[in-house]
Symmetry: C2
């Protein structure tokens, strides 16, 4: 017997997510649990993979299996697919292994044609309903399968409504709908050159193919890249008997969570619409009612649903997100899954479930998506400032956090403004999957329509972005690029502020305050700290950043960059003087001016971090970065420096580099101008000695780090400059202080010669940003030009500057770690690239047994949790 590509719901179970996708596995599990699920079957993810292998065709054996399963469903339901008397209608939905909300396409009411529609009319005794379903099906099929524009069908509908003078769809009569069906099919034929497919079997196969195809569309690829989902997983297809929430006032449809997905509160939370199909709730076109109301309208159904919800939560030991339909008073469960939630809710639910005895602390740690924590760490509106302002309106508090930015009205504008460095708030009537990229770059999202489970709300919560949805008072004028609310007119580019925790909207710029770690968040972080093996440090260049990092739990500073300290007005003059100097003496004179500044910088840093360790990196960027470029700037600076503009221009020209990333920078500066390293060492050691004198309990041991080393002898040369300078200062001080000298490992050559470098270096810090650039041979600044093509073609599935490329760059790190330990078994190993705050990368670093990761202060809690998860998984 060959491979099995199709499973009835009754043949699967919840553990088969890889094969059946999340939705399919859960439908099977609910079926096993005896819950009221409209029966159906799942075409497996392997069938999807085979579809791509077979050059985007469905193999005959799979088609055969599909129709065999369909015939079993016919027997179960007593209905017949394509029958005129008692027709079986089905929905076709995608269902990947990981939930991808709104990303994949769905077709409802499949199986209708000009004769079947009469059967539907007669069994439901509702001809208008039948034709309404039919015209919806034609539109949906044409859109999803044939990529005909939705808007064209809406225009036809509007046309008919206009002729008749209707305002609402509900005013359309059966005859109107029949007319619309004819017009829809006419449009279809005009555009496609063939008749709308009459054969329900053809409709089904086309729909299955469309689901497979949609796995590879751009929206899906963008979402996968943002969420680390491999393309190779594929999607399953769920084919399910239709039940109708839109047969009348005794029917309805809804979605609900077993706990509040925004706060975690243990209380059934959801929305429903009577006389509606599922898409109406999710798409946010009509604003639905709270699930509470269902208790009043249909108490029995509510009771049954609440009981099922509780059973499902107990069964899955996690908060559930469920879809249901009521058809003529009978409840059907269409889906359940672990619910998406805000970071706050995730934390509260995890701690509550531990307290309720349902899960362990380890489980709780694994339940929280580390990336999500980000949203808890960003600023909230300043409470004092809030007291003085009045909101101009209020929407639903759909995704918490505070956002302030300039208004834009489209996803592409959001991207364009954000590319220019502007913070934006995206204001939309409603959002759709096409908006994903624009949403990702926005500080917050504000929508006019849609509830707590609308597309905007679900996606924003997933991203940790702030969202206020369903503010129906807003009047948008897209043409003028403005909207009015609370008597105010806000134009594109004006500032607004929105509070995703309250739903309040402010027509002005509001100041914010930093978040802190308290309550359940603190509990989770403590659990994480007891489990993780990796230490977590922060990258910080200022005392403010260092303090913030410590507040977020950083155990030290893993990377203190010294170049940012030079951009202050007084200092930049001195560094420019140094660059322009033609002699060692000239350079030393200029550097001597910088020394006191640098020293006090480091004193402040040491004061800020107390007993914690700090790694200070010597100057890294090419010197020309400090010089002016335009003619005007050159003229001005030359006056200040007391040299001719020609001389200064000559220096600028001389320092020009073809490939600055591969130029005269890093330790190369210390090799050509040792006096720079000497001054920086003096500043570090003097600062440490001075703070140590005031605070002997800090037990400071400076860690001095040399950037961009590629060769042992190069390291020795720079190390000698450092030690001779430091030893002399310490000896003269008559104080006792130890210090260490280590290096970045950020060039491939450093990784493959790490055994030699480790003989001399006290520690390594893997600079994964530069290492990624050199390993791939593309610079971060230039890769934007072509990486989009790579994502489109699934050559790269994620941005290697965000998520570590474990295969290539990771291999070089592994080589570096092993070689380094071969000559210095106790060498201290860390990471200070941006990957230090990326959860999947942290897991990799944990497996390599590194000592610490260092990341931006805001990512510290993320790294702490990710490190704990890695340790728990590795147990």
């Amino acid at each position: 017997m060959g491979q099995k590509y199709v499973y009835l719901f009754s043949e699967g179970n919840g553990s088969m997510k890889e094969l059946l996708g999340g939705k399919g596995a859960n439908l099977a599990e609910m079926t096993c649990l005896g819950m009221p699920v409209p029966q159906g079957f799942t075409v497996t993810t392997e069938a999807c993979t085979k579809y791509y292998e077979d050059n985007k065709t469905i193999a005959p054996e799979i088609e055969k299996e599909i129709f065999l399963a369909l015939s079993k469903i016919e027997r179960m339901t007593g209905k017949v697919f394509g029958d005129q008397q008692n027709p079986l209608l089905i929905s076709v939905r995608s269902g990947a292994r990981a939930s991808m909300p709104g990303m994949m396409d769905t077709i409802l009411n499949l199986g209708l044609n000009d004769t079947v529609v009469n059967g539907l009319a007669s069994i439901t005794n509702n001809e208008r309903f039948a034709y309404d379903s039919y015209r919806r099906f034609i539109q949906m099929f044409s859109d999803v399968v044939k990529e005909l524009p939705k808007s064209a069908f809406e225009a036809i509908l509007d046309d008919v409504k206009g002729q008749k003078g209707y305002k609402l769809d509900t005013e359309l009569t059966t005859e109107d709908l029949k007319d619309i069906v004819i017009k829809f099919k006419g449009y279809y034929k005009e555009k496609m050159g063939s008749d709308f497919p009459d054969d329900p079997r053809e409709q089904l196969m086309e729909a299955v193919k469309a689901v497979f195809r949609s796995w590879d569309n751009q929206r899906a690829n963008v979402y996968r890249r943002m969420n680390d989902i491999p393309h190779s997983w594929g999607t399953a297809v769920n084919v399910q008997t239709m039940v109708f929430g839109n047969t009348g006032d005794n029917s309805g449809t809804g979605v609900a969570f077993t706990r509040n997905p925004a706060t975690g509160e243990k209380k059934l939370f959801g929305e429903f619409l009577m006389n509606a199909q599922g898409e109406d709730v999710v798409a946010g076109i009509r604003t639905p009612q709270s699930i509470e109301k269902l208790k009043e309208i249909m108490p029995e159904v509510y009771k049954q649903f609440a009981s099922i919800a509780q059973k499902l939560e107990n069964h899955y030991r996690d908060m559930q997100d469920m879809e249901f339909t009521i058809e003529n008073g009978k409840l059907y469960m269409l889906q359940t899954r672990n619910g998406k939630r805000t970071a706050r809710a995730a934390i509260n639910i995890a701690v509550d479930l531990v307290n309720e005895g349902m899960i362990t602390q380890d489980d709780a740690l694994l339940r929280i998506e580390p990336k999500q924590l980000d949203s808890l760490l960003h600023p909230q509106f300043d409470g004092e400032a809030l007291k003085k302002v009045k909101p101009i309106g209020k929407g639903l508090a759909a995704s918490p956090g505070a956002a302030c930015g300039r208004v834009v009205f489209s996803a592409s504008d959001a991207k364009a403004w954000s590319d220019k460095g502007e913070k934006v708030v995206l204001v939309r009537l409603e959002t759709s999957p096409e908006d994903i990229e624009g949403m990702a770059v926005s500080e917050g999202i504000l929508t006019v329509r849609g509830g707590m489970t609308s597309h905007a709300a679900v996606v924003a919560r997933g991203m940790g972005a702030c969202c206020v949805s369903g503010c129906g008072d807003i009047k948008i004028n897209e043409e003028k690029r403005e909207f009015t609310l609370g008597g105010m007119t806000i134009k594109e580019g004006d500032y607004i502020s929105i509070d995703g925790s309250t739903g309040d909207i402010y027509g002005e710029k509001l100041s914010t305050v930093d978040a802190d770690i308290t309550g359940n968040f603190e509990i989770i972080m403590k659990w994480a700290d007891t489990r993780r093996k990796l230490k977590v440090r922060a990258n910080a260049d200022t005392p403010q950043d260092a303090k913030k990092a410590i507040a977020f739990g950083a155990e030290g500073i893993g990377l203190c960059r010294t170049e940012h300290m030079f951009f202050d007005k007084n200092r930049i003059m001195a560094i420019r003087e140094m660059i322009v100097a033609q002699t060692k003496e000239g350079r030393e004179k200029a550097l001597n001016k910088l020394l006191p500044y640098q020293q006090s910088d480091f004193e402040e840093m040491y004061e800020a971090i107390g007993k914690r360790p700090m790694t200070i990196r010597l100057l890294d960027p090419p010197l020309h970065e400090f010089l002016p470029k335009t003619q005007v700037e050159i003229r001005e600076l030359s006056k200040d420096l007391g040299i001719s503009p020609e001389e200064l221009r000559a220096v600028v020209v001389k320092l020009h580099e073809f490939n600055p990333m591969m130029g005269h920078r890093g330790c190369r500066l210390a090799v050509s101008y040792p006096e720079i390293a000497k001054m920086q060492t003096a500043a570090i050691i003097n600062a440490a000695l001075s703070v140590l004198k005031r605070h002997p309990e800090y037990a400071i041991e400076p860690e001095i780090m040399i950037p961009l080393i590629s060769e042992e002898k190069e390291f020795i040369f720079v190390k000698d400059i450092i030690t001779s300078t430091a030893d002399e200062i310490i000896a003269n001080s008559k104080q006792n202080m130890r210090y260490t000298v280590g290096t970045m490992i950020e060039l491939p050559r450093a990784a493959v010669t790490a055994n030699k470098i480790a003989k001399e270096a006290d520690f390594f810090s893997f600079g994964t940003n530069d290492l990624t650039q050199m390993t791939f041979g593309f610079s971060r600044d230039d890769a934007g030009k072509f990486l989009e093509y790579y994502y489109d073609k699934n050559i790269y599935e994620f941005d290697p500057f965000i998520k570590l490329d474990q295969e290539g760059v990771g291999d070089l790190i592994k080589i570096g770690v092993n070689l380094g330990r071969s000559t210095r078994p106790d060498i201290k190993l860390g990471v200070c690239g941006e990957h230090g705050g990326d959860p999947s990368s942290v897991e990799f670093f944990n497996l390599l047994g590194l000592d610490y990761v260092s990341c931006s202060p805001f990512r510290v809690p993320v790294a702490r949790l990710a490190a704990a998860q890695a340790a728990v998984k590795d147990k």
Copy 2:
């Protein structure tokens, strides 16, 4: 017993080169052979290493050993160091493992002071000689050990001569010389703040230290870098009893070769000066007499010398380069070593020695420095052109070859002009070690003074550069930057031509003709071909280059770059049109214009190479390289392209890259614009099919190479474009033809994921230029700014773009080779970076078992010989 740091000549032998240096080992060997060698001892290279380890001090135990050896020499000679009656005087000379002519410093007459000088006067019965030696010693010691300027001493000498109205040094009386000694010592005290060291033991130790120190001077470092000599080898110091060639007309000194070092002719060849010290011959200040003359002047001494020369050649089985001194009619051998020779001489001598039965063919191959062959492969003056011109002067034919370039008068000017891309001929009164770098960048060297063994001649032959020396008719006016010769005045920047094989000098630009491989050269190449395992291909982009490569023995084309083909006027317009096009269709339209050009390019290439294989690389450089940059160019091009200058400027700006080396280039172009790869594939396949039709015997199998691959999926994507295009064309042609698709391995990521890429790739070609850039993280264009500092500080000892960095880059190649073979054991492996023509790199590639190297046509014979040497050594 501790380590032995000092060996008497009688304690060593010729096999101890590593310990005693070349000079010391050969002095020991000659001593063993019973030849007349002034006795002495050698301080070992290990003592030098220890000197550097001990922070540039000489350990007491070494000092003790030195004086113990000295006392043994005293016993042997019956003379006493520092004695007033019968003083022992010594020379102190450096002697590294490999010969480094002119690079290290020498001190003669050491042991003299105000009292010893009288002893010397009385035993030689020549007070004038004694004081002349003394003043020479003071000057030499002050210069070499204390770095006081030679010119200051010469000024004092000139001053005395001026006062007395003398023209020649020989006019100076004993009293004059005594006066000069006092003045020299006065100058010394004034500058050094202490008396000139009286104590001969102190003089000796200072001199030994100076030799050690000179191992690390800049000239030595430059020479080592050019000749691949590691800094860690260190130099030995030879301390030898002085014999005097300048005691009168019965004395003399000379250098000679057992065969002619320019042609290889088997005939004693050399020069000598009567009544002179050795430095006078080598420094080229007086023009010496041919060794033939010695037969007339001192027939017995000549006979003895000729017999020793023959014995030495037979003993070493190689042409010898010897120094000798005649002291009062008695011959002393001061040095022998395998003689430096021109490439032509090397070949002739090697073949002759095989014919004489002295060495094997394997030996012969190892005797020839592959790099030297270069000089045989460069153009000679066109014989026809030569007939029409008359030389304006003639010098010695010191180093063969033809050179034509603009005149410069200093080494620094040579560098400056050459950096600007000018070909230069360096014209000097005489050259000195300070000129090395300037000589290296010159097409040829022309000197006024000095013979066949002058500094200029020796160094030029070593470099394979053309040199005409000793043209005494030249009058140089350094101030005006011009010289006159044969009635012509030549200014800086004027063209001259010099012929190093005839000594002729032409006051104009002369055209040249290519060299070819005939005679003994051909024999050597045939021997090489029977031994080597590596195949040798050439990098060639034009039929002319391909033909030249084949004439030089290339077995195919390893790299045919396609970008150079685009710069023709018609083509560049089409490629610019393609770049500016906004749509795929627009690009395809432009590419279709290029297709016939590309196809005929490849047809010509296939016609040129016949049955040999050819690897064609798809477009590699970033597209912006094809666009104009200046405003004027943009205006003109925009007119031609029929778009506005603003549009064109926008394209240029959009394509600007921060780090072009790490930008949108290589296969990234094929990923973003598949139509480029499609056009190029069509051109290659069409061309191959068309030539194959005319010449079925060529059995063409195109090898299509994808540049800059970093990832398996990227390779598959581009390979799919190639195969789908190629397969369709071949199918339509109804011809049979196979082709292969492979990749460059030039990014670190490609090397570490080579197992995956090899599953798909038919062959790898290691692109060592780019791989070196990415592994070190510096670009070739920018590294010039800091590499000098690295050489100065001995961090890098050679240019990794010329000689492969085996430790780092080589390690990645090894990883790539092993991983590649792990999934495709028979994968074809080659190298097409410039390292493919570098002998030490070729040896490394041979050890890795690669299939071929590919280099520039001129380097093909070099690579053939280097590959043979590698195979012989690896036997």
